[in-house]
Subunit: 413 residues, 2 copies
Amino acid sequence: MRQSQLFTKTQKFAPKDEQAKNAQLLIRAGYIHKEMAGAYSLLPLGQRSVEKIKQIVREEMNALGANELIMTGLQRRDLWDRTGRWDDDAVDVWFKSSLKNGREVGFGWSHEEPIGDMMQSHINSFRDLPVYVYQFQTKLRNELRAKSGIMRGREFVMKDMYSFSANAAQHDAFYNACIDAYKRVFDRLGIGEDTFVTFADGGAFTAFSHEFQTVCEAGEDVIYINRERGIAINEEVLTEETLTELNVTRDELEEVRTAETGNIFNFGTEKAESIGLSFTDENGKSIPVHMGSYGIGITRLLGVLVEKLADEEGIVLPENVAPYKVHLIDIEAADQAEDIYLALLEKGMDVMWDDRDLRPGAKFADSDLIGIPWRIVVSKRSLEAGGVEITSRRTKESEIVSKDDAISKMLAL
Amino acid sequence: MRQSQLFTKTQKFAPKDEQAKNAQLLIRAGYIHKEMAGAYSLLPLGQRSVEKIKQIVREEMNALGANELIMTGLQRRDLWDRTGRWDDDAVDVWFKSSLKNGREVGFGWSHEEPIGDMMQSHINSFRDLPVYVYQFQTKLRNELRAKSGIMRGREFVMKDMYSFSANAAQHDAFYNACIDAYKRVFDRLGIGEDTFVTFADGGAFTAFSHEFQTVCEAGEDVIYINRERGIAINEEVLTEETLTELNVTRDELEEVRTAETGNIFNFGTEKAESIGLSFTDENGKSIPVHMGSYGIGITRLLGVLVEKLADEEGIVLPENVAPYKVHLIDIEAADQAEDIYLALLEKGMDVMWDDRDLRPGAKFADSDLIGIPWRIVVSKRSLEAGGVEITSRRTKESEIVSKDDAISKMLAL
């Protein structure tokens, strides 16, 4: 990408009503645009980063044998009446409207009910199970407050996965495989060590659910962890009973502030019973399906990464999340830069070349704000010193290498 | 993909209330699921086909220099008040709801207003123009009736692009480049010859807009075409004046039924004036931006392709739209099939292997219904005859070739 072709401009200031650091930086750098509190459009840089997070998640979900699909946002009232979740007293984040004929519709804040209902067309026999499906869905939730930038939106992208199993053993096997897959996702995003599989409230169906909580000062949750033993407990279930069950004392636990980046949930057979989803077992008997749900907050993750990694100068993103891996900047050395640009492009490298006619200081400030992991500067001075200057956005370490070495080094990333 | 891992089942019948051929076939084949009239979830096969259509469109829009982004579905009332399009009398397809604080929000049926408003943060000077942006957006439109399957939905995927230009000449250059890009899209989808750039109502801003109309019996439009001269006129503007202007007589025109698969629209400067989007020209003068909008109905296109190409046995899709290029079917020859499957997978071929334990007739019927372009059958009989049987779904021509030749042939597609 030639930066002259990118329409977004960096901004000196974020909107005055924007309190969250993640949104302030992402708006200023041109990743997102604030439409209203809790609703942000993804501009080209943001759209690329979100797609990269999605792709990492997609690969790991596919490796689990899950099928990707996309459910509708529009939802029928009758599906949610069946499970008692249409009423605003039961679910307080609904956006609702109605068709021209007066029939009420809701806008998807979650999809268990419609996916469970849809599965009635595809699950009949024990031979059809297990089934795992997932989607990247734009969820709408009518949150009372939305002050955390893209970490808690009224409109946000979520990966939600659902499992349909014949029995508890089949369910548990997938549930555990999913925990491992989620760990791989967070490892690949560079926050594996800071993300804890956390015991949390299990709701009506089970004693506990599992949340993936990532240490983050801007997070909304508080959890208690023991890093050595890998134990993490959401404060909501920090009771004597839980401590006893997990064989840990309060003194052995450290309090940390976190953001919930994923969660997995076992519905047992209750959800399927209320939806009416059953199958015929080996003996011809009709049995309700075991269901589970497995979420990852995709846009939230971008917010968490910004909150955790940003520095004084701006955004810092991991290589596999940043919109581009390389930011090529030339200072009156367009021909030399173009050679490098074309060489990298030809090899399929994600490179953005700041080919704009701007003074060096403005280019560097923009580059720091946008936070692409590797910067290559080509200038008269660098060429005299033997080539180009490569700088790591994160460590700020830089070195002068030859043009060819710079290209090889970037391709080896 | 091993078909045993695909959760969808083909269905003998579509829902009784489904009248449209495209939806009947797509539901029966497991591409889509009907949530309500005009709202269909995309199941794995449908999701793959839609992604393929998107990718073709994406490549052509990127080649125009357009930037991909994603706007929010949630929209602020004030943006549409400004242009007089909030009221249901002005726009009769709004879904509306409200935030907890009572503020009204709409759900995006189009995005000119929010995109134009957002551009105020990025367009200041003539140096910032032109700008082209596009998105693949799930639009919501509260249609009174929705009986055309995925050809006219209450929820559907659209590619909408917007241009922002400094003057009429800059606008026209892009407008014309976009016509060419759209022609390439329709050529790549295999419907180039049946798709006509059609003079249509220009609304308030210009004499004509241009629609891309694809000949399709299930379409909602009627146009008048002269194939030799490449003239096409929507019946809504078939007047003496239009005929005179285009230098054609009614007798030289053929009436055909069509589906509108794309449209491009010139707003002049009026839209930007009502939004309040202007720039500073070379002389320091504030000038309203020239805007244009450019749509392609992504999910509609899948419907049109099904309507046009399906035969008695089921869906027929072009190679670059079908969810898989190759449908490998084994009849008690799993080892041989696995060799072919792995060889094709290794080369990155989109192949689905029907590895299910079903009788041959059921596998063939499913394969015909799903409509993957190339079928490779491995059976005891084919092996005795010298290899495998390759059949074109479209022409039904088949031949026996060696396993190696079959692999080479598929990879050469």
